[in-house]
């Protein structure tokens, strides 16, 4: 039997299964939205609290469970009491293997990541939500429109605008990568 149906029938273990199955999905979406692990954990708890309380209102005929879950998550992120959007770039998180051997490729990657992070920070939360739903979760335009409760045309136009911003930011970042330093000539012993 489906864990959702079992949970509706009052089975507490089934809710634990639902949490286990979807916790990473919710947590990572929240993390990308707010940029802080601590805040994302708070959001994870609040989202599943809302799921627990309103599971009986979920209708499979209207949309999938994950769409419903994304809707709760994104809405909570957008309407939560605003905290500062933390913009940080943790090098060991992004390039765990590249750090010991920096080189031109690494610098280009770093420049690209910085540009992406800066552009993300500059976007409105709604546009950021659209990007995360599209590029991280790979949802269709229709699903994004359903989750955010906005027209399909708005999804398209916001996605286009954000795309152009990234396209320009990345082009600038790659152009600015300094040329590799020439290795010093070895001194020939006399």
């Amino acid at each position: 039997m489906d864990p959702i149906q079992r949970c509706l029938a009052g089975d507490q273990e089934a809710f634990a299964q639902i949490y286990d199955r979807y916790k990473n999905l919710v947590f990572r979406t929240a993390y990308l939205m707010v940029g802080s692990v601590e805040e994302a954990e708070d959001i994870l708890q609040e989202v599943f609290w809302q799921v627990y309380r309103s599971l009986s209102t979920f209708r499979p005929t209207v949309g999938s469970f994950t769409t419903w879950l994304h809707r709760i998550t994104v809405n909570y992120c957008l309407h939560r009491r605003r905290k500062r959007w933390l913009s940080f770039l943790s090098l060991d998180r992004i390039f765990p293997s590249a750090l010991p051997h920096p080189g031109p490729v690494f610098e280009e990657q770093l420049g690209v990541s910085t540009a992406i992070q800066q552009t993300l920070n500059g976007l409105s939360e709604k546009s950021r939500a659209i990007l995360i739903l599209r590029y991280s979760l790979e949802l269709s335009y229709a699903e994004i429109a359903q989750i955010l409760d906005i027209p399909l045309g708005t999804v398209k136009s916001r996605l286009n605008q954000a795309r152009q911003l990234f396209r320009q930011a990345l082009a600038t970042a790659i152009d600015e990568v300094p040329a590799p330093h020439p290795s010093p000539e070895k001194e020939v012993p006399l």
Binding site: Q12, Y19, F27, Y31, Y52, S54, I116
Partner: protein
């Protein structure tokens, strides 16, 4: 198709979200226009990098197990509240009903339900019996809340205020000298909670007769809390009026709190009926202490004069 129009469609084209008619026009344009093809390649690369970046960032983090522990504790608290479960079921039924109805039907049903409910309530409230019954039902429904609301505000009793007392008489006293056979005993308790101890102010009356107070040895009666700790009973609560009720009936009255009761400690006035001197010790559910309370020492309060009473014991 112009290049500007083509640029606006490139994103949807790459995402395979473009309308078939636009796709044909765009593909025809791309065949002829090298700058637009180059723009599409750059956009595809930018998309790929953005996707990789977001997925890498997301994959690097995971929630701590503490989140589930906190959530489970919260659910456990909520599950003890019967009203919460009732509302969830009701919400589910309404949601299922409204799913297949048009907007005007949902709106009409809301308005109609509100009108019917209000009219019914007004008619019912015009009967004094109904008002009394609703008042009793509300107290009965709220009873589980004070027992489980761990983080709620403490219920406080100001000195000298009259607190409502609601008792249900469902037992008769059969073996006590101060009571006649068949009399009904009503027991009243005000409970003070301190981090270090629990104090129970206790009094007893019998219906139809004068108030009786029992200066019994506290060691005779123990109150057991949820953690199975046992506390002696203090009894200094006065009941200035006689509550009259027949067995199986309910009686309402007031009880004056005779002295300062710690306003910071969770203080509850509860009432019940007991059969005195039952062989087993009493067992009442005591809510957990409200965290963060700094108690005022009991000694700081003036102690009322104790009137010696003859021992009611046979």
């Amino acid at each position: 198709m112009k290049c500007r129009e083509a640029h606006e469609l490139l994103g949807a084209y790459l995402d395979d979200e473009i309308a078939p008619s636009e796709r044909a026009l765009l593909e025809a344009h791309l065949e002829q226009c090298a700058p637009c093809r180059s723009e599409m390649a750059a956009l595809a690369q930018s998309d790929e990098r953005l996707g990789q970046f977001l997925k890498r960032q997301a994959a690097a983090v995971a929630p701590s197990p503490q989140v589930w522990k906190r959530l489970r504790a919260r659910i456990g608290r909520e599950a003890r509240l019967p009203l919460g479960r009732l509302f969830r079921r009701l919400a589910g039924r309404v949601s299922r009903w409204s799913e297949k109805r048009p907007f005007w039907a949902r709106r009409s049903a809301t308005v109609l339900a509100t009108l019917v409910f209000t009219a019914l309530l007004l008619v019912l409230l015009s009967y004094p019996e109904v008002r009394t019954m609703l008042s009793r039902a509300a107290r009965g429904l709220l009873a589980p809340y004070w027992q489980t609301a761990q983080n709620g505000p403490p219920s406080t009793v100001e000195p000298g205020t009259e607190e409502p007392v609601w008792v249900k008489v469902n037992q008769t006293v059969k073996q006590y000298s101060d009571f006649a056979q068949g009399d009904v005993a009503v027991e009243l308790r005000a409970v003070e909670f301190y981090p270090e101890k629990t104090v129970v102010h206790w009094a007893m009356t019998n219906t139809g007769r004068q108030l009786v107070r029992f200066p019994m040895d506290s060691s005779n009666i123990l109150v057991q809390d949820n953690a199975k700790n046992q506390y002696p009973v203090d009894h200094e609560l006065s009941v200035p009026q006689v509550l009259v009720a027949d067995p199986g009936q309910q009686a309402e009255g007031t009880c004056t709190i005779p002295r300062q009761i710690n306003a910071e400690a969770t203080t509850l006035l509860i009432s019940t009926l007991v059969e005195p001197f039952a062989s087993s010790p009493w067992s009442i559910a005591i809510p957990r202490q409200t965290p963060g309370i700094t108690p005022t020492p009991l000694e700081a309060y003036p102690q009322p004069e104790r009137t010696p009473y003859p021992s009611p014991l046979p």
